[in-house]
């Protein structure tokens, strides 16, 4: 019999404790609120952030971007990708390190490396990308990177790259070459298949 009443007492007591907690949260909603109203408020919230500034991000995982003028076509990123979302085609340049103005090819990267290849195709299928960052590390020219964060000086952040068509998520970084332009490169071997 005493167990019966203890049970009832415990029930009322524990339930009341719980109700007190929710009540406390309800009346302190101004202080406790954690909702971020997305389109109006963006991620680095001015007050209420967890203590670090957006600029201090160690690294960021967002959309991949390629500075194609710096790309030497070494295919390292393509090999590093675990899901094969990067496709690169290259054509051997007639003279190493020389600009080809017809197709807007620059011969030297910003680091001063002379390019031996003309990148005729550099596509990244962001719908397949798994954001593992593995392609970023091997790049010798640091021309493939994820936008924003520490790279925001190179390219502003772009988290919200939604598209209506899946095809539009295939980003093409190299300029398309027409057959005529290809001829101007005047390559004995037709094309190095990736």
């Amino acid at each position: 019999m005493s167990k019966y009443f203890t049970n009832i007492y415990e029930t009322v007591n524990t339930l009341w404790t719980g109700m007190r907690i929710t009540w406390r949260h309800m009346i302190h909603i101004k202080r406790d609120n954690v909702t971020l109203q997305y389109p109006e408020e963006r991620w680095p919230r001015p007050e209420r952030n967890i203590g670090f500034d957006h600029k201090d991000y160690n690294v960021i995982r967002s959309r991949l971007h390629v500075d194609i003028d710096d790309c030497i076509g070494c295919l390292k990123c393509e090999r590093a990708c675990p899901v094969d979302c990067i496709t690169i085609n290259t054509i051997k340049a007639p003279n190493r390190g020389e600009d080809i103005s017809d197709i807007g090819h620059t011969g030297e990267t910003s680091n001063g490396t002379k390019k031996a290849m003309v990148v005729s195709r550099f596509t990244i299928d962001m719908s397949e990308c798994c954001y593992c960052n593995l392609c970023v590390y091997p790049c010798p020219e640091e021309c493939i990177f994820m936008v924003g964060g520490p790279n925001s000086s190179k390219h502003p952040i772009d988290y919200e790259f939604s598209q209506f068509d899946r095809k539009d998520l295939i980003y093409q970084f190299a300029k398309k070459l027409t057959p005529d332009q290809k001829k101007t490169i005047d390559d004995p071997k037709p094309e190095v298949e990736a």
Partner: protein, 358 residues
Amino acid sequence: MTVDFLVDWFATIGDFPILAFILAVIISGIPLFLLMALNAMVAVYAERKVSAFMMDRIGPMGQGPGLHAGKWGLLQTVADAIKLLVKEDTIPQKSDKLLFKMAPFIIFIGAFLGLAAVPFSSSLQVADFNVGVFYIIAVGSIGVIGIIMAGWSSNNKWSLYGAMRSAAQIISYEIPAGLSIIVPIMMAGTMNLQTMIQFQSGSIWGILPNWIIFNNPFTFLAFFIFFISAVAETNRTPFDIPEAESELVAGWMTEYSGFRWAVFFLSEYSNMLVVSGLAVAGFLGGWQSPIPGMFDSPGWGLFWFMGKVIFLIFVMMWFRWTFPRLRVDQLMHVCWKVFIPIAMFNIFGVGIWKLIIG
């Protein structure tokens, strides 16, 4: 009251009693329906906000024009209502179509009829029965039939489970609710809600309002038994096992969508209003002011009544967003082994109290 008044008034115009009656019912029914709709909309909005605040969220919000839900998300329920009305009304191919279509309206009728006897103020009540309490308890059970129809006709196992659980639950909890509402009936000596509320005027020792809940310890206990049973009867957490979303997907409402589902929703919130209204009328002094002798006019009466009802509905929401859910057998355990004995004990206690003290 309103109906009687209207019938009498029509009688002064001409002698067509049947037409007068129908007109009176329609004229008093339409505001009631509007009240139901308004109640559901406000309650949905309040529920969203209350739940959000309890969870450290802010709920529906909008800042400015466009596709946002208005200032503080006030237009959210309007958007919800429009969405529900224009949504496709799906009927499962192998369902029992007649029952499937009928079920929402039977539940609706149950909720609507109950609302008719709720005494909003001393003069504002659609129908003043001399068995008001009895009537509300009785029509409150009509909903069960609708729930079983909905569950059975959906031809869905989840719905069937939900319906069976719901039937068992509502029928069981009628008993402690009924036994507890006997207490104010004994105290006031009437089943008429208005008379019951009149009985609660004045004050105890000049401080407390003379509400039945404060009258003696047994009535105090009886209020809680009644209120919790009422929560169970409206299928809300912690007694929401008929629609337990983590177990039964949506219980007996699984196959419903669009307008029919909206009717369920409307009925659920109206039921909350009705049972809260009954609890307020029976225990919390109805439209009586909490400060005896002040703010006593009928207009204030409506205010006090709705204030108390809204408070009770808020407590129901508070329950819902704090507690886990009981299991079926535990639910029955609580009902038969805890509430009913205490409710019976209350009846004895009140009887003896009345004999000895007054």
